[in-house]
């Protein structure tokens, strides 16, 4: 059975609450969307740190202008459009233009938004990783999120390469079992 869509609660009443200055509602919106906005913006600007700054600015501006907040379409679409605009403005900035001119050309094929279904998929992946057994999860996240090689992981944790390989295989198998069958059904 599919998980309930966590994004669906951000409907018109939620926006109304934020317009009225409800900080808790604003925080919930931030915590749900910020990670995906960062990933999305980072694809444009090439740096996680810059992406985080831009996303923070986006939310701060949203809060500052909350009394005029008007979201016609889905909240996701609104946020991703706003994020994309900030990313493009950032790239157009004089000081960064030179460095990123080449990058900008390469990135013209980037998707204009991440839609809700992709966010939901990423949330599922995150949950599935959290459900891995602890050592398996540690090894998997060191490789996938910290970018360590098998050798580096083996060295750091004092394990054999074989163990690292086995755990990576197990992680892949577990994730596949949880995620791909769901998607194909």
């Amino acid at each position: 059975m599919a998980n309930p869509n966590p994004l669906q609660r951000f409907g018109p009443e939620w926006i109304e609450r934020i317009r009225g200055g409800d900080e808790a509602a604003f925080e919930a919106l931030f915590r749900t969307f910020a990670p995906w906005l960062c990933t999305f913006v980072a694809r444009y600007v090439g740096s996680r740190a810059a992406a985080e700054d831009l996303v923070q600015d986006l939310f701060l501006a949203l809060w500052k202008n909350r009394s005029e907040l008007r979201i016609e379409r889905s909240v996701s679409t609104y946020l991703f459009h706003a994020a994309k605009n900030r990313a493009l403005n950032y790239l157009r900035n004089e000081q960064t233009r030179e460095r990123f001119r080449a990058a900008l050309l390469e990135r013209s094929d980037l998707p204009s938004t991440i839609d809700e279904s992709e966010i939901l998929e990423l949330l599922e992946v995150q949950k599935a990783i959290e459900d891995l057994p602890p050592r398996c999860r540690l090894i998997f996240t060191l490789n996938r999120q910290q970018g360590l090689t098998y050798d580096e992981i083996a060295d750091s944790l004092g394990l054999s390469i074989k163990t690292v390989e086995t755990q990576m295989g197990r992680a892949l198998k577990a994730l596949r079992a949880k995620l791909l069958s769901f998607r194909h059904s």
Binding site: P35, T39, Q95, T96, L175, L180, S181
Partner: protein
């Protein structure tokens, strides 16, 4: 000998149907996706793909899953981001211009700052050695400008955001924090009364920093350029991480807490590839004799609470609390009665006015404090 996975229930509609498929080599596929496969292994994978009708599609689906697993942001960053936003919006009665943390703004403290604060402003401009310019938010523009910018909190705690060139020394006074971004993208949150000296050897060599005091490091991992924090008698080496190091001159040990990833902690005179590995949620204490004691499952948020403007201590003796308060408020705190000094208290307070902090400590323990000319004395 490749492992087999018979006996697994095939998911409905799934392609790896245990009944039709002889074996699925997850280890091999993982190695391939992780770019660890040798040419021979890649050839083997191609043979496997050719062996079944849907395997190419399956591999593509697995590749997508793999990429998604690598694209997830870390939850600790979200927390840090939210704390920064929360601070801004709670103080949001400021006019919009003053809040722009990307502009170089002259400090306008709302409470009267202590004289030391103004001296510090001058001192930091001297350290900077470059004309004040607009501070650029992007970490990638770091190399272009070494700029200092100010932002005053409502209290007199100042936060300096510095874009650093390696080879510099950064110093904070009591009650002050600095956020420093190094050229390699690593971020350092420097605590009060601390010194950080950055020594990178060019673009290729190891990245060494020297710390006296306390800092949180969010390191951009590079296996070819190890990141090492030298402090007191210890060296903490990054293995892909976010971690906090505390080593004040008046501490009797180097303390390291790991939030994400791994570090290796060893005495300075121990060989390079040695050391105690610390993982997320672990606290390592290196004593003067070079021995490392490890505690697991610590509340890392408590150890990093100061980066969010809070002081969090769990059943800490008063003498330890007093030391922390001294670093944050720049006042000397005396506890003449040794029994009082050993009383324990649990605290979770914002780092705001000193009187607030003193009350939070003395009231629950039924103590009182007295302000003298140069110090604060705590009595029963």
């Amino acid at each position: 000998m490749r492992p087999t996975f018979d006996g697994d229930r095939a998911p409905s509609g799934g392609m790896f149907d245990a009944k039709n498929d002889d074996e699925t080599d997850w280890v091999l596929i993982a190695r391939y996706l992780a770019a660890e496969a040798s040419p021979a292994e890649e050839a083997e994978l191609r043979r496997w793909i050719a062996g079944g009708p849907d395997r190419q599609d399956e591999l593509a689906a697995l590749r997508r899953l793999w990429d998604q697993a690598g694209a997830l942001p870390s939850s600790s960053r979200v927390e840090a981001m939210w704390q920064a936003i929360a601070r801004e919006i709670r103080a949001s009665d400021e006019p919009a211009g003053a809040r722009n943390r990307r502009a170089w703004v002259a400090v306008e403290a709302r409470a009267a700052p202590p004289p030391a604060y103004r001296l510090l402003a001058r001192r930091l401009r001297e350290i900077s050695r470059r004309p004040a310019a607009r501070l650029i938010a992007a970490s990638l523009a770091v190399a272009a400008a070494g700029v200092l910018a100010w932002r005053a909190y409502p209290s007199w705690h100042a936060r300096i955001v510095a874009m650093a060139d390696p080879g510099r020394e950064y110093r904070t006074e009591h009650g002050q924090r600095a956020e420093i971004q190094l050229r390699d993208g690593t971020r350092v949150d420097l605590g009060p009364a601390s010194k950080l000296r950055v020594r990178f050897s060019g673009e290729k060599g190891p990245r060494e920093v020297h710390l006296e005091g306390e800092a949180v490091f969010d390191v951009v991992h590079d296996a070819k350029r190890p990141f090492r924090v030298h402090s007191a008698n210890g060296v903490t080496e990054d293995l892909g991480t976010k971690f906090a190091v505390r080593a004040y001159p008046d501490d009797d040990r180097v303390q390291v807490v790991v939030v994400e990833g791994l570090v290796a902690l060893r005495p300075s005179n121990a060989p390079q590839r040695s050391g105690t590995i610390l993982g997320p949620g672990q606290l390592g204490r290196l004593d003067l004799a070079g021995k490392v004691e490890v505690t697991s499952g610590v509340d890392t948020a408590a150890y990093l609470a100061w980066t969010r403007g809070r002081l969090v201590l769990d059943q800490a003796p008063l003498r330890e609390v007093a030391r922390q308060l001294e670093r944050w408020y720049g006042v000397a705190i005396e506890i003449p009665d040794p029994r009082v000094a050993e009383k324990r208290i649990t605290l979770d307070i914002p780092l705001r006015a000193l009187t607030e902090a003193l009350n939070a400590v003395t009231v629950p323990l039924e103590l009182r404090y007295e302000r003298k000319a140069d110090s604060i004395v705590i009595h029963p």
